[in-house]
Every structure is written in C-alpha cells, then in structure tokens.
C-alpha cells in the first residue's frame, strides 16, 4: 500500500459563490416577502379589523386611560339606568359574550354621544336632556352599540393599527410602540369618525333591535326631530352630534321608511322615561 497526499480540489466543502450574491438574494427575498405581507395587510385592513379579538381592543382602550374612566365605584343612578338599558339592547343585538358594553355619563352641555374602542359609550347630558322618552334614549344607545357590534371603532382607526398589531405578533415591543403611535396620532378616542355606510349600518341594526325590544319603532326618529328643532336653520348652531354622526338625507329616509313599514303594528306607545330621570341628570356627580 502506498500512501500519497494528493492535492485537495477546492470548492467541495465550500461554496465558490460570491458571498455578496447570497447576501443580496437573502435580504432581497426576505425584504420582498415582508413588503408583500405589509401590502396585503394594508389592502385588507378593513376586512381584517373584524378579526382583532375584542379583548385586545379593550386593552388598547385602557392604554388611553385618561380618556376612558375606570369602572365606576359609585355609579350615579343615571349610569345604572343607561347601562341596564344598554344590556337589554346588547342582548337583542346578540353581541358576543366578550363584547362588554360600558356606558359613561358625561356631565356636559354638549349635545353628543359616541362609541369608542373597547365597548365604551359616552352619553352627554346635553343630549340626554333633549330626549323625550325611553325609546329615543334606546335608539341612541342601540345606534352606538351597533357601532361596537360591527367593530366600527377599530376599523376607523385605520391601517396603522392593523399593521401595528400584526408586527406585535412578531415583536411585541415594536408592535406596542407602533400601536401607541397610532393611538397618539389619531388624537385620542373621541375623534373617531365613522363613514356614512357605517352610520347607515348602525342605524339599521339599531332599528331592528328597537323593534325586537319594543315591538315597534315609534320614536326612533325623535332624536333627529329634537336635534333639528334645537339647531333650527342655523348651520353654526348644529349640535355636536351631527359632526360625529354625519347625517345624510338617506339616513333619515331610511329610518322613516323603516318606521312606515312597521306602522301597522298596534300599540305603538312609547315608553316614558323612568321617574327621577331629570333629577339623575342634575344630581350626577361632576367628573
């Protein structure tokens, strides 16, 4: 046996490919994939928002703690009444069990009400004072609860929030920083604007639940009648409610046609407001 020591050919155990080629292929491929995911996420943001778990939405809402008061320790009677009514409406709208509706009463002259992230509804004294009967209050509540049901608040937060939450799955610190940035950029929760389609969708759901609750929809338009009377023809005097709830001819027509559709129902009496309603509004503690 002869022992030799031949020259080892190069490139068997190593690659002869230039390392920069691999570098560009890898970074290009991975960046391209990330970019594609981002594009798909932003394109489908509105559809995907529905799939964000409601718990996550509630957690987002608590991050803006200065705007969402913690659960009331000493709930004034008006909040007890509104929450009770809201629970009844929520049951009619078949809200999933994790969707907890919390109604907050705001002692302010603003004629306004709005729904925001995490199932929080805000009802202003200015609006509640103008409502003539319980059906009108229920209509406002049902409308706002319908916004929650259809996930309008998180959808109106836009693409940024979807993107931030998606990133949060990979890197929680980066994702949280991003969602906080989005929350900060939107200027808080009170300025969430819903579009006209969303308003109509909420109206429709609200009217249905009102019908289920009372057997008729009498008084559903009381809110608009009252508001129109208050504002008169003066555009400058438009109640705040109209700026947060863009009102189109279509919307009112829809409500009216829904009402005429069910006008045959007998016993269309509206429920009076509970006794002491007016005093609850006044005596509620200032916040």
């Amino acid at each position: 046996m002869k022992y030799s020591n031949p020259e080892i050919p190069e490139g068997i155990n190593t690659s002869t490919q230039h390392p920069l080629k691999e570098f560009f292929l890898l970074t290009g491929g991975i960046l391209g994939t990330v970019l594609a995911v981002v594009v798909v996420l932003t394109l489908l943001a509105d559809q995907l928002a529905v799939y964000i778990p409601f718990e996550l939405e509630m957690e987002l809402a608590t991050r803006v703690t200065d705007e969402v008061p913690a659960a009331e320790s000493e709930s004034p009677q008006i909040e007890i009444y509104l929450n009770g009514l809201a629970d009844k409406i929520a049951a009619e709208q078949a809200l999933p069990p994790e969707m907890q509706i919390t109604v907050h009463y705001v002692d302010d002259d603003l004629v306004n009400a709005f729904a925001t992230l995490g199932g929080h509804l805000f009802m202003f004294r200015g609006l509640l004072e103008t409502l003539p009967h319980e059906n009108a209050v229920a209509m406002v509540l049902a409308h706002e609860i319908a916004h929650i049901k259809h996930r309008h608040p998180i959808r109106s937060m836009g693409r940024g929030i979807i993107f931030g939450l998606a990133i949060g799955m990979v890197s929680s610190t980066l994702g949280n920083a991003m969602t906080d940035q989005v929350l900060a950029n939107t200027g808080g929760l009170t300025v969430l604007k819903f579009n006209r389609d969303q308003e109509s969708e909420a109206d429709q759901t609200a009217l249905n639940s009102l019908y289920q609750l009372y057997g008729h929809v009498e008084g559903a338009d009381a809110l608009f009648e009252v508001l129109e009377r208050v504002s008169g023809d003066d555009q400058l005097q438009m109640p705040e409610f109209f700026s947060t709830h863009p009102l189109s001819e279509n919307r009112i027509n829809n409500i009216h046609s829904f009402q005429t559709e069910y006008s045959a129902v007998e016993n269309r009496t509206t429920m009076p407001l509970p006794e002491g309603y007016a005093t609850w509004l006044v005596s509620a503690p200032k916040k």
Partner: protein
C-alpha cells in the same frame, strides 16, 4: 436611523475584514499544503506495516477562528428559510485544514514521515450566548511515525 447606520457600518466592516482575512488565509493554506505534501495524513487505526518500525509520538494542531458580523448576519437570514449555510462552511473548512497543517508542522519538527489515526474535533466557542459572535475551534490529532 442611527441604529441602521451603525448596523450597516458593522456589516461593511464585517464583510471587508472577514473577506480579506478569508482570502488571505486560503492563499496561505493552499501554499502550506503544498509545502507539507510529503507528510501523508491518514485515518487508519494502525501504522502502515510497509514502513520499518520506528518511534511514534502524539501530534496535534488546533485553531480558533471567529465568525465575523457579516457571516453571522447571513447565517441569521439563512435560519429563516433554511439551506446551505455557505458562510459558515468556508469558516469550518479553513479551520479544519489549518488544524491539520499545524499538526503537520509539529510532525515535521519531530522529524515524522507519516501521521496515522488522525482525528478531528470541532467545538464552538460562545455556544448559546445570545448576540455573541461565535468562534469555531478545530483540533486535529494523530500519531506520527518518526524516522530513525
């Protein structure tokens, strides 16, 4: 933005120095392999019987080579999609050949003419340390037959 610049500078430094060192090292390896070609290295367990009985000795050579930032980055990307980690292949190849060369150098100092029962051990230094740039150690050892 600052982070990105720091990262790119590290990447460029890693590539520049790493590539320079690797090319230089391969040049030296190929040249010395030629130089030590007269000492065969075999893995048989027993000494070749054709040689006259002679003294034997243990010889070894070991080398530690560090990964550079660029290689580590590429390997990290490779981790995501799988495949040949060519960045590390050349690193380990260099380390093995260098270890054998050092072993041969020792054998020549003994006046050896063949090394048999050669074994290679590879271990990684910094293993499991997060964000630490690792290094590879390769040790070659065998039994040298010494000319009388």
């Amino acid at each position: 933005m600052v982070d990105l610049i720091v990262f790119l500078v590290l990447l460029a430094l890693g590539y520049g120095f790493g590539r320079y060192a690797e090319l230089k090292h391969y040049k030296s390896i190929i040249q010395r392999e030629e130089e030590f070609r007269d000492i065969p290295v075999v893995t048989t367990k027993f000494p070749p019987l054709t040689k006259p009985l002679s003294d034997v000795a243990l010889v070894s050579g070991s080398v530690v080579i560090s990964v550079d930032y660029f290689k580590r980055f590429i390997a990290g990307l490779r981790n995501l999609i799988g495949g040949r980690v060519t960045a590390y292949e050349s690193l380990v190849d260099r380390a093995r050949r260098e270890a054998i060369l050092r072993m041969k150098e020792e054998a020549r100092a003994f006046g050896g003419h063949i090394i048999f029962n050669v074994k290679l051990e590879t271990s990684s230094i910094h293993k499991g340390r997060k964000n630490g740039i690792g290094a590879v150690e390769v040790m070659a050892y065998g039994t040298v037959l010494i000319k009388q």
